[in-house]
Symmetry: C2
Subunit: 197 residues, 2 copies
């Protein structure tokens, strides 16, 4: 029985809902917003800053990202983003040490890659399913759902590459990868629970 | 209930054994060697040629592959490899039309990508698990297991890219992706059956 489950997910794929369901089914703690709050308490950064900068690159490309963050150094030569990443990493490792939890996002798959007791899951779906879901959950905005998703995807991909050196969404980084658009939220949760046992 | 399951797999990951188990559990037909025999009957190519050329590029890189096959044209301007691909594709589409089957490899995931009634699965494992498995099944050879796997991976990747335009092993091409090294052969089969329902 795996005692830690990390869930990496594409924006709009329902990964967070799946994570919550899995935690309920297994009686595990669920860390998503609670993780943000812990990081906020440790770092002094606002939850909004952590939500926005703890998973997304601050510009659209790796090069722009490096240039854009290059000026933001504080004492000790660390950028604010690097400091956030370091604190977030420590919080995730502390949670993992306690076990029996589901952790959503924030490169937890990479941070806990050598933990034997860990199941790493990736949740994704095609553009159509995700667009429908974000409009249902977050409403219409000025930008088209497709444009919003493409921007989020790109920023998360750059963030992930920047901090882990890996390519986002490569099957090899996970124990199982599930298309929530094809399989549905409930089935994804059931498969993760089954895989865990 | 999905009536067609395609299984794409890394060499040495046990994808074929998983496919056979899934077919047994669901009472579906299993097409792996039987597929080779059907293609052989339709094309006149030997089973050995189909085994070797129906999933693997004939040289180590895309460019070399194009150059190497450029001279092998027959009547009608098709290379032997392209002709094999065309016949293999037709056989796979005919099998899919009958339904209730598991098809292993041979770009079936791509050929049947628009079939609603289809579950596309990718099976993979890390180098260590696969190396152990190929030595157990195929014995020691002159080349190290790692070298053998790297060559097979590279040839399959090039073949797949050449005929589908897609990148091999990208989660988005599949409904679910399973690490057989982490999850084990039996669990993978059970998860596929559960996902299918």
């Amino acid at each position: 029985m795996k005692s830690i489950i990390t869930i990496s997910r594409e924006f709009g794929s329902g990964g967070r809902s799946i994570g919550r369901l899995v935690a309920e089914k297994l009686g595990y703690r669920f860390y998503d917003r609670e993780l943000v709050e812990k990081v906020s308490a440790e770092s002094g950064f606002s939850p909004e800053f952590i939500e926005e900068s703890g998973e997304y690159a601050s510009a659209k490309s790796g090069l722009l990202f490096s240039l854009a963050t290059a000026g933001q150094y504080e004492n000790g030569g660390m950028s604010m983003h690097d400091r956030l990443y370091a604190i977030q990493s420590k919080v995730i490792e502390d949670l993992a040490a306690e076990g029996n939890c589901v952790i959503v996002g924030r490169c937890a798959d990479f941070l806990l890659r050598d933990y034997k007791d860990c199941l790493h899951v990736f949740i994704y779906a095609d553009m159509e399913h995700r667009a429908k879901r974000i409009v249902e959950r977050y409403g219409e905005k000025d930008k088209s759902p497709r444009k919003r998703l493409e921007e989020k995807d790109q920023k998360r991909k750059v963030y992930y590459k920047n901090y882990t050196g890996r390519n986002w969404g490569e099957a090899h980084n996970y124990s199982l990868c599930l298309d929530s658009g094809i399989l549905g939220i409930e089935t994804c949760a059931d498969l993760i629970v089954a895989a865990c046992k």
